[in-house]
Every structure is written in structure tokens, then in C-alpha cells.
């Protein structure tokens, strides 16, 4: 089933029991792929106890050093955010819309990552900037202390609901959408070029790159379009080098 194309990514989880509970939550909803970014302690007996009989998910969990590695092969990257502020530059979904959105992505054979931050502090700004979209669970404003496994439970449930009634879509661009890793390469390239032309000041970057990421992240860039973008940025850089060569 397509739900196997969802990867749940937990970042620096402090309590191994939460990892176990998250695995159980995933499995009840038919999800199977768990990725742990620098877990504080794992494997751990508490994780196994809390996983109930979802130990297979723990056994198969991938452990990586950073978010970039966790999402390298993913096409859709959605971060969870405990706060919902309208002034953020991300598209923000509620869990229901997120489930529908993920359901559609799965029907196009896309790989989806759902990112959950640290128990206390959530996601860093750098991690947020790697997300194409955010999902906010609309908790009680007076008490938004949602356990990380509970957040996994709600979103896994909504993904299951969203995947259930996928209608086939006949008119699709067949071309492959590039992965987060490919886009990362483009962003690095663009950033370098923007620094070269002094549009971006590394000492005072403001929100330039996050804003560009938000914007380009919405495109769902295809393979040939990525070449076009890279070529364009190279051309803008190349001009400079050409002129420099002429001067020398």
C-alpha cells in the first residue's frame, strides 16, 4: 500500500519511550518507515516496551545524523509546527488538509517525509527551512503540550484517511519530480551566486534563502526544469567570470 511511501522523521527525541509509542501509532495506521535523527538513546528497552507489538518498525528504523540525510530522497517534505503564525512564509495545513495533500502525493508515487521536532523545542529554523510545507495541529491555545507520539498518531491517522479515497488522476505530467537533495543542491548554487552578485549578504542574510526555498519549493520542479534552473544560475555566474577573464 502507498502508505509505505511515508517516512516519519523524529528529530533528537529525548525519551526512547516516545519513539516506541510513535512506532505503535504509525503501525496502527498502516505506516511503516521510521527515521531517527540523532536520537538521544536508541535502541532502548523503553522504546520496545512502548511499541507494543510494533517492534518491527523499530528494528527497521534508519538512524541518521541530520535532517538533510533523512529527507534526501523525498519529494514532499512537511514539517510539524506547534505554533501557527500567519506571518510565516510557509504554506500551512491543518492535519486534515495535510492528509488529503499527502494522499494525492502518494497517488503520484511520491515519497513523503513528515518531520517531528524535539519534545521541548520542536524544529530549528534551519530545519524549518528544509520543509516545503508546515502542518499545525490546532491544539488548545491554553495547553498545546501535545506528546510527540500523539502528534504522530493524529497525522498518521489523517494520512490514512487521506490515502483511503484517492481518486485516480489521468492527466498528469509524467515527468519525475526531483528530490529534496536535488533541490538542496540548487539552493546552495543559487545562494553562492546571490552572494557573488552581492544580492545576499552572508553577514545579514535576513530571510532571503528561506523565502526563496518557500517559493521554489512550491513548484515541484521536474528533472529537466532543474537543469534549466541550474543552467540559468550558472549563466548568471559565468557572465561574471567571462568579464573577469577579459579584464585580466
Amino acid at each position: 500500500m502507498s502508505l509505505s511511501n511515508i517516512r516519519i522523521v523524529l528529530i533528537q527525541t529525548s525519551h526512547p519511550g516516545n519513539i516506541g509509542s510513535a512506532a505503535r501509532a504509525m503501525k496502527t495506521m498502516g505506516l511503516s518507515e521510521l527515521c531517527l535523527v540523532k536520537p538521544k538513546r536508541f535502541p532502548a528497552p523503553e522504546a520496545n516496551v512502548m511499541s507494543s507489538n510494533a517492534e518491527d518498525i523499530l528494528d527497521n528504523a534508519i538512524i541518521v545524523d541530520n535532517l538533510q540525510q533523512a529527507i534526501a530522497d523525498c519529494h514532499v517534505v512537511i514539517g510539524t509546527s506547534a505554533r501557527y503564525e500567519r506571518n510565516l512564509r510557509w504554506e500551512t495545513f491543518d492535519p486534515r488538509y495535510c492528509g488529503e495533500f499527502v494522499g494525492k502525493a502518494l497517488s503520484k508515487n511520491k515519497k513523503v517525509a513528515l518531520i517531528f521536532g524535539r519534545e521541548r523545542s520542536g524544529l530549528t529554523n534551519e530545519e524549518l527551512s528544509m520543509c516545503q510545507h508546515l502542518v499545525h495541529i490546532p491544539t488548545n491555545p491554553d495547553y498545546s503540550s501535545l506528546n510527540v507520539a500523539s502528534a504522530v498518531q493524529i497525522l498518521s491517522y489523517e494520512c490514512r484517511m487521506g490515502a483511503k479515497d484517492i481518486k485516480p488522476i489521468r492527466h498528469e505530467l509524467n515527468e519525475e519530480v526531483v528530490s529534496a537533495e536535488d533541490m538542496e543542491g540548487f539552493y546552495q548554487h543559487l545562494e553562492t551566486a546571490l552572494i557573488e552578485v552581492e544580492f545576499l549578504n552572508p553577514e545579514n542574510p535576513r530571510y532571503l534563502m528561506p523565502r526563496l526555498r518557500r517559493m521554489y519549493g512550491r513548484i515541484n520542479v521536474t528533472r529537466s526544469e532543474l537543469s534549466l534552473l541550474r543552467g540559468m544560475v550558472s549563466a548568471f555566474q559565468g557572465r561574471k567570470f567571462t568579464r573577469r577573464n577579459k579584464e585580466s
Copy 2:
């Protein structure tokens, strides 16, 4: 808030930790009324630990001897069922429909009870017969081992979504999307710049601009993003002009 008219009823819960987790789950979604039917052990330190800061819900929990007492003053009584059998005796909802149904009941000032059975064995036939409706959470058929607090979490979430005062978040960037005319200005600007850096040959343009149009056209560029794009292209051009000025 009307969510205070929902009573969560837990029947003969074995693990006090689950009672605490259920209280936390309720509070994150704005529910407050907990009723325990013959809990095995309560109050208990594990319950308080797992409740995080939702101890007020535990402190105010009502403890009764049987389901009949728990639901005496309720107008709508909904039981949770791990199995979904097309049963002639009950209307059975999924959590989403349950949330909408509860939302409607709350808007008419009705008191609603949601009943959760024992960890292992659920509700007895006698208890089921006291329910007007059933709700079934559509779990993975190969692994339906949903923790009782997780079930409370999902249904509390759906009740919150179903209550009228929660607005859905479909925040596709609030900001105004620019017009086709504005985009046309950008495309002209980009085309000029690409000719300047000789990425685009006006004698042999191939499909470069149509491809770029198709790609950027998918973004739904906002006002501030258009400024960013124009600024970026100008910067790529400006570098050239700066250098030209220096040369002259």
C-alpha cells in the same frame, strides 16, 4: 467553550498511566471532563506523571461504579468500537463523521459522552447496548492495537475539528497572488537578462521562455515574492552594469 460539554468516559482502565495520557490528550484538544468507571487503580502517581500538566483534569475526574451512572445526564452517547461490523443495531461513524456529529450536538447545547472500553476487551455487550451510536477508528487491519489514550487523542481531535468555533487551516499563503500582467513584466525582465548573459539566443530561443513560464507559472507568486524575483534578476544584471561602469 462548548467542548466542555463532552465527557470522556474510561471504563475499568488497567494502567493508571493510560488515564494520565488520556487526560493530556483531552486537554491538548480543549476537552476537560473525565469520568472513570471503576478504574483499577486511581489516583496513582503514574497517572500524574503521564498527564504532564493536565493534572487539573485528573483532580476533577468523576469516579463512578458503572456506565449507567457515567452517562445519566447525557443526551448523546457514543461508544468506541475496535471492530467495525456492519451491525444493524447501531449507526457506526468514522472519527471524522463522529466529530461533525458531536459538533452539531454541542451547538444545540447537548451533553455528549464518548465511551472507551477496557484496554484488552473493550466494551461489554451490556455497555454497548447503552450507546446510541458507535465510532470505529479505521486502523490497520493487520495491527489494530490502538492505545486507549491514542484513541482518546484522535476522537478529541475530531471533536475539536467538528466544533464550530475551530476554523480549518487551509493557509495557502494569505498574501495576494500577482496578476498575469505582473508576471508578464517579470518574464520580459528575465528574458532580457538571459539574453544579456547569452543563456538565451534570440536567434534560436528554442523553448526556453515557454518552459520558464510554465515553471514559474506554477508558483502562484505573491506580491513580495515578485519583488524578490525582480530584485534577484536586477542584481544579476546590476553586477554586469557595475563592472561596465568600472571599466568605462
